[in-house]
Symmetry: C2
Subunit: 182 residues, 2 copies
């Protein structure tokens, strides 16, 4: 049996709804596990059902939600676990605050996809509702999204397949010695 790798870190996926954050987070989680890291994937939607029940989508509530996810990621990462976060996390200050609190490495991945493409795909029908006005506070339509200005890694899911985005991220992590070589 392989011993677990005990270098903790947080990989934080930020981007618009539907851009592919959860898909990439799960795929990256499998890659880390295959290489004997301990991994937890913290998904924004799940966190809202556990740690953030009662919070809404105002700026204050979104920031509180991000701080809570960040707190859990911090506890995991400083104890040797790879915490992979998939959360819209639209406000730059809140993301930077979470990064600053981290003892372990913190890797910000911007999952970039043009809004026109997301509206065209609209797998869950959320953009149609947001544009129609029945779903308020929707990031990118009726709520702001502050793109990172210095993300560690940026992937462009509007014009590349998930495998290509994943390879970009894994390459970056290998180059920075943050994931075990296969």
């Amino acid at each position: 049996m392989l011993m677990p790798v005990t270098q903790g870190l947080t990989v934080w996926f930020t981007g618009l709804s539907g851009a592919g954050k959860s898909t990439l987070a799960e795929a990256l989680g499998r890659t880390f596990r295959d290489r004997s890291h301990r991994v937890e994937v913290l998904d924004g939607d799940e966190i809202r059902a556990t740690l953030s029940t009662g919070l809404g989508f105002s700026k204050a509530d979104r920031d509180t939600n991000v701080r809570r996810i960040g707190h859990v990621a911090r506890l995991l990462s400083r104890n040797g676990v790879v915490a992979i976060v998939a959360a819209i996390s639209p406000y730059k200050n809140a993301r930077d605050e979470v990064r600053a609190l981290h003892e372990a490495p913190f890797v910000e991945v911007f999952v970039e996809c043009p809004i026109d493409e997301l509206v065209r795909r609209d797998g869950k029908g959320l953009y149609a509702k947001a544009i129609g006005g029945t779903l308020p506070h929707f990031t990118g339509i009726s709520d702001p999204y502050e793109a990172p200005d210095r993300a560690d890694v940026t992937v462009h899911t509007g014009r590349e397949a998930p495998d290509a985005s994943l390879a970009t991220i894994v390459d970056w992590l290998e180059q920075h010695a943050l994931i075990a070589r296969p």
Copy 2:
């Protein structure tokens, strides 16, 4: 350098305010660290300032608070970390629910101290305020405390020194192979 021990577990201290939960949790944390375990101490008061901002002291809010602490302890413990929780956690059902959700071992420690003794000590003056009626929803005075009926370990801090309580807990953990031998 010693390799970290990667057996995770949760040690959950429950008991009245002032009974000695935080003191024992910190001391037990040091013991685990000395024996090369990875440890996080999750203190109820700190959690209320991070993961549980906005929650009050109704039964529903207390149960939500306990569920959130339990969720974080679960994530840590199933990843090889020793999560040590110090929280009044007055309701049996909430504690049992957290135990049932755990993949890693869950050890419930009842920090028992007679209420008369806590009122006599009253280091923070909270019992005087609760009895005087200026501090509502105070566990043991104006709010219920449901003692565990089958705690894994019970310590009696009204009649024994902290070192003796700690020794009882460490002995139990050693007998159950949940802490490395020194």
